[in-house]
Amino acid sequence: MTASGLAAHRVSKQLGGGLVLDGVSLSPAAGSTVGVLGPNGSGKSTLLRVLANVTPPSSGRVTMDGQDITEFGRKALARRVAVVEQHSDTQIPLTVRDVVGLGRVPHRRAWLSASAEDETAVHEALEQTGMTAKADQRWQTLSGGERQRVQIARALAQRPSELLLDEPTNHLDVQHQFELLDLLSGLPATSVIALHDLNLAATYCDDILVLDGGVVVAAGPPDDVLTESLIMQVYNVKAEVTTSPEGHPHVRFIRS
């Protein structure tokens, strides 16, 4: 496999005696949006943490442009890969602009102050996420959805080629869910997104990876992956899958 960008090769992760990831491989096409689906505890977050080099895999490797990420250099990796965690909070009184500015940390050396490029990146990230009007507001005064968008703005300010997002739509209302996924799928960066909503995944993702018990049970374009039998097998829920007018699979759950 040619490996441009971030890729996982038969990655396993043991945590507290159990196997949380079992031989997971993933190599997203450059610029694509990949949805990681699966029930709670299926290993979605762990996969993202391993991809982000936050936690090392127990076996297997993660590579960036073919090079093992542990040899890629932390700073260099942080200039390529930005991460949005599921939960984030701070006790420190920071403004929205301060938080977004953290995205420039990997681009600066310790003794230099912000460059024009830093300021442009922060400015653009605020614009893209619709947070410009709140730039001087305190983080602590924001709603859950706004905090999520600020973290996404921070990730964009990193100007990454790869974005890893753990359930970024969790705290968002429907409008902002669509706006966010519109934004992410329109970016030149490759996005790997853990998602719960099958229809959002079907609408916005180029590829889908379905995890169950740490094992990849299906991978490929939404049309191939999101089938009634797979949903029954993984989620134990009856569903009807039709094709939406836009040509995406559409999942309707059926009460049994």
Binding site: R49, R79, V83, D89, R97, A110, E124
Partner: protein, 348 residues
């Protein structure tokens, strides 16, 4: 792609040198004036004359006695107050940011209680008598307790909350030990001495302590300044810092060791002066905003000015008796802390 931002973002960073210059001037004036305050009548001009004379850039017409009061008694004491204030404030900033805990202070790694146990052992039991001074015992105790906290927190998983919990546990253990030693082995006179030192006192400070403290402060400041950007990145925790390219484990070990060593040096010569390291970082954040490149030097200067004045109050207000400086910092620090928390209510 887009036009440059119109408003000035990322705070008024260009003003940092001006702020530092102004702070430096206030600090120098504070030291000069604080030295004149006391039972013997000294003028600011006398202070300049004495300093100029000793630095070999002028001639002093001061009497030997008055020159001695300025140069041998009040000057080292006031300078040490400045060094301690700056050092404790910087250690507080680093600990609070690194451990993401607004209640963290320089003593959270067990350093002060370890120092107390070490000092008390030397005083009371005469352990290492002759070879080991009280300050030496305090320093060894401080380093030993920090090592214990590090080992304990590493065994428990190494996360920041484990560091805090280990620190608290070691602190409790060592203060119990200190109390036990004092109660069983000390006479009334020694107990008084120990107590005074436990509360913090700048009374017996000379030039050697000032030199050691200033060197330790300068070294620690240089290291911490180099990690300023890393400290910023810790705002959302260690995992978030790691994804911003920070070497989390190395940063944590280096900064904890540097602050523990600086605290150990300071505590071993002046005792545990509380509240400066806890309250001042919060006040400095209000003044400068959260960026550590500004926060570290500004809190150092504010801490220095504050402790110069607090010590002046401590040694003069009940003349000829002296109040332990730690008592005064607590009397000022507690209401200030409440005020800061009150200001930030509803925001958390």
């Amino acid at each position: 792609m887009t036009t440059a931002p119109v408003r000035e973002p990322l705070r008024q960073r260009s003003r940092l040198p001006a702020v530092l210059l102004a702070g430096g001037v206030v600090l120098l004036l504070s030291i000069a004036v604080a030295v004149t305050i006391g039972p013997a009548d000294i003028e600011v001009a006398d202070v300049w004359a004495s300093v100029a004379d000793h630095l070999g850039i002028g001639d002093s017409t001061l009497s030997v006695l008055r020159d001695g009061i300025v140069w041998d008694l009040r000057m080292p004491r006031t300078l040490m107050a400045a060094v301690c204030g700056a050092g404790l404030a910087v250690c507080g900033v680093v600990m609070q940011s690194l451990l993401r805990n607004p209640l963290a202070d320089p003593f959270i790694l067990g350093v002060s209680s370890g120092a107390s146990t070490g000092a008390v052992l030397v005083i009371v039991l005469g352990a290492g008598a002759g070879v080991l001074s009280m300050a030496g015992g305090a320093f060894l105790g401080a380093v030993a307790s920090f090592a214990l906290v590090l080992m304990l927190s590493h065994t428990l998983g190494g996360t920041t909350d484990r560091v805090v919990l280990s620190g608290v546990a070691v602190m409790q253990l060592l203060s119990a030990l200190t109390s036990f030693i004092v109660l069983t082995s000390a006479d009334a006179e020694t107990t008084r001495g120990v107590l005074f030192w436990l509360l913090g006192s700048l009374a017996n400070v000379g030039w050697p302590e000032v030199a050691t403290g200033a060197l330790a402060l300068a070294a620690a400041l240089a290291v911490c300044a180099g990690y300023a950007r890393s400290l910023d990145a810790f705002a959302f925790g260690e995992d978030a810092a790691a994804t911003l390219g920070i070497a989390v484990a190395r940063t944590r070990v280096v900064l904890m060791s540097v602050t523990a060593l600086l605290t150990a040096v300071l505590v071993s010569s002046v005792g545990a002066i509380g509240f400066v390291g806890l309250v001042l970082p919060h006040a400095a954040r209000i003044l400068t905003g959260p960026g550590h490149a500004r926060l570290l030097p500004v809190s150092a200067l504010t801490g220095a000015v504050l402790l110069v004045w607090v010590d002046t109050v401590a040694r003069t207000v009940l003349q000829p008796q002296e109040i332990p400086v730690g008592v005064v910092t607590a009397l000022i620090g507690v209401p200030a802390f409440v005020l800061i928390l009150y200001r930030s209510r509803g925001v958390q």
